[in-house]
């Protein structure tokens, strides 16, 4: 029976491929959507991850960057520098705002850097200056590619005009982008005097980041300190929560589509093989054995479809980067496990559809011409 299950399934490779491709389409839809969501969420924490500070210090009661404001008095910079294990402290100003560039509005994290600071600046430069000067801004290269914006052009940030001095890479997503200006310019815009938003703390070699964050909170009043990983995880989870319902809805739609497709394929398969099933029953094969065989076939189709969907999305990642740079596509292990489990559940559900048909096959029909 086991042999028949697989021989029969692979007997018509073109038909199998078409079936697998159809189901893979549904899984790819789910993976793609989750991938876009993961990519977008990943870009929201890009500044935290890519600047690689060991500890982030912020206003007490603040634990995020996304959709948050933080004010830390600038005198605390020296206080933190005095904490044991601190190698360097880099302050930034931060504003979540809209920039007007190339005739369009773009949601952006505006990061104000100290003059000449490269520590918190762009981690990958596409063209132009790496550090903004007074009245200058460094924008994501995707905006330039999308609008034709060039170095020397003017953009408006929080109501004030800036000259484009350079373009950074890996700083754009559809939901968010990162723009760098000087701290002085951003301070003027925000009317922020004597305070910064966040402090990037680098630890001395061998110092545990978690312990250092604890010492900073103990020794410097009214600040919160989080390791890079903690800070990044918090922001990432906020981003995920914001889109969770949409992701679940898409997963549900994709799953339902996959169940229907797999069910239809398996049902057609059973209908096409009705005579063989009648012969098997006549020879003494029990209904449950036939059903188990069909369930195995559905499972193989589901898992092959899942594999194909993963391959398609993996292929889509570099293609998206090349041809649709505005889309940030990422494939997380969580999404893979979730969709893989979904493929198994979908297959099991789909194999229920032809049960009635299997049970109704009359072995006596094996005698018919």
């Amino acid at each position: 029976m086991f042999r028949w299950t697989f021989s029969e399934l692979f007997a018509a490779p073109q038909q199998l491929l078409a079936s697998v491709a159809a189901v893979a389409g549904a899984f790819a839809l789910v993976l793609f959507f989750e991938g876009v969501f993961a990519g977008e969420s990943g870009q929201i924490v890009a500044l935290i991850d890519k600047t690689e500070a060991d500890v982030w210090v912020m206003q007490k009661g603040v634990g995020n960057m996304h959709m948050t404001t933080s004010f830390v008095a600038d005198w605390k910079i020296d206080a933190i520098k005095d904490v044991e294990g601190v190698k360097k402290v880099t302050p930034i100003l931060y504003l979540n705002s809209v920039i007007e560039a190339g005739g369009r509005n773009w949601l952006s994290f505006i990061v104000g850097l100290e003059a000449g600071d490269t520590r918190a600046g762009p981690w990958e430069l596409a063209s132009g200056a790496a550090i903004p000067g007074p009245g200058e801004a460094i924008l994501p290269d995707v905006i330039a590619a999308d609008t034709g914006l060039a170095i020397g052009d003017t953009v408006r940030i929080a109501g004030r005009e800036f000259t484009v001095a350079g373009f950074s890479s890996d700083t754009f997503s559809m939901a968010n982008s990162i723009t760098f200006v000087t701290m002085e310019d951003l301070g003027d815009t925000m009317s922020s005097i004597g305070s910064v938003s966040y402090l990037l703390v680098d630890a001395k070699p061998g110092v545990d980041a978690h312990a250092l964050a604890g010492r900073i909170m103990d020794q410097v009043e009214k600040v919160n300190a989080l390791t890079r990983q903690e800070f990044s995880d918090r922001d990432f989870s906020i981003a995920v929560q914001m889109g969770l319902e949409i992701v679940w809805m898409m997963t549900l739609i994709g799953s339902a589509l996959a169940v229907l497709l797999t069910g239809f394929i398996v049902y057609s398969h059973v209908s096409d093989r009705e005579r063989e099933l009648a012969v098997m029953k006549a020879l003494g094969v029990r209904d449950w054995a036939i059903y188990l065989s069909i369930m195995t076939q559905a499972l193989v189709i589901g898992l092959l479809a899942f594999g194909l969907a993963v391959a398609v999305v993996l292929l889509a990642i570099p293609l998206t980067d090349a041809f649709a740079p505005k889309i940030s596509l990422g494939l997380t292990v969580d999404a893979l496990i979730r969709t893989g489990a979904m493929a198994v559940i979908v297959s099991l559900l789909a194999s229920i559809i032809p049960v009635r048909r299997v049970l109704s096959v009359d072995p006596v029909t094996a005698f018919q011409q």
Partner: protein, 292 residues
Amino acid sequence: MTTPIVQASKVVKTFGAGRTLVRAVDGVSLEVNAGEMVTITGPSGSGKTTLVSMLGALLRPTQGAIVIDGIDIASLSEAGLSALRARTVGFVFQSFNLLESLTVRENILFPAHLAPGGMPAAAPHADDLLERLGLGKRSKALPRTLSGGEKQRVAIARALINKPKLIIADEPTGNLDSKSGQEVLMILHDIARDQGRAILLVTHDRRVEEVADRILWLEDGTLRDRKQESHDWTNDPVCNMRIDSWASLIFSDHEGVRYNFCSDKCRDRFTADPSKYLRETQLAEQSEERKP
């Protein structure tokens, strides 16, 4: 002493209910013994398939009893019937019914997974059957590449793999050319004679008369024994050909009388204008009577 492998006692099978009730098999009793080859013949719609379905444990009778290898099938559940079929009955079908995605050897071995020991235990037997039935060189071939005769030999080997006591063959020569048909009949005959298996054959093939131990005639759901040497001669009213009404399968009923024909063509001519041929028959009979 002969051992009955299958016994049917006053078996009735009805389908439908009330005004649509059909008695497909009506009070049939028979026994088929080990080593015996019994043929059931009869016109289309006479209930042959229903009868052999019951004798092969595929259907339960509405009334009466069927005992296969000492087991009354009425006492068995669906699972029990499946197990009995797998163990005791081998089937050979007119349209071969091989599993198209499996090779010849895999087809032969297929029912073995339902028997104790499974396929590994049956593998040597499968190889032996392949050789004995002249399929040794075709063991890895797929059914679609086989001739009709080869397909039927594979089907016979599949029916034999679990060494069943009863083999039911439904029109095993129906889709074969003359030579292959003869070959299949001889194989079945040898299986009954040499291996002591009971063979129940449903066929219209006249050549089976040469090899069958008994020929049973089923008509309107009832069975009658037909001696091989018995004949009931009559004449085709259209072409006047002499016909054995016991064996004739082409007939037409007119005003309560059954007329047998040599061919569909003669029957069609008759049914188009029965009075013409009956008048001619009558005139011919009168002319015969006037002869001195």
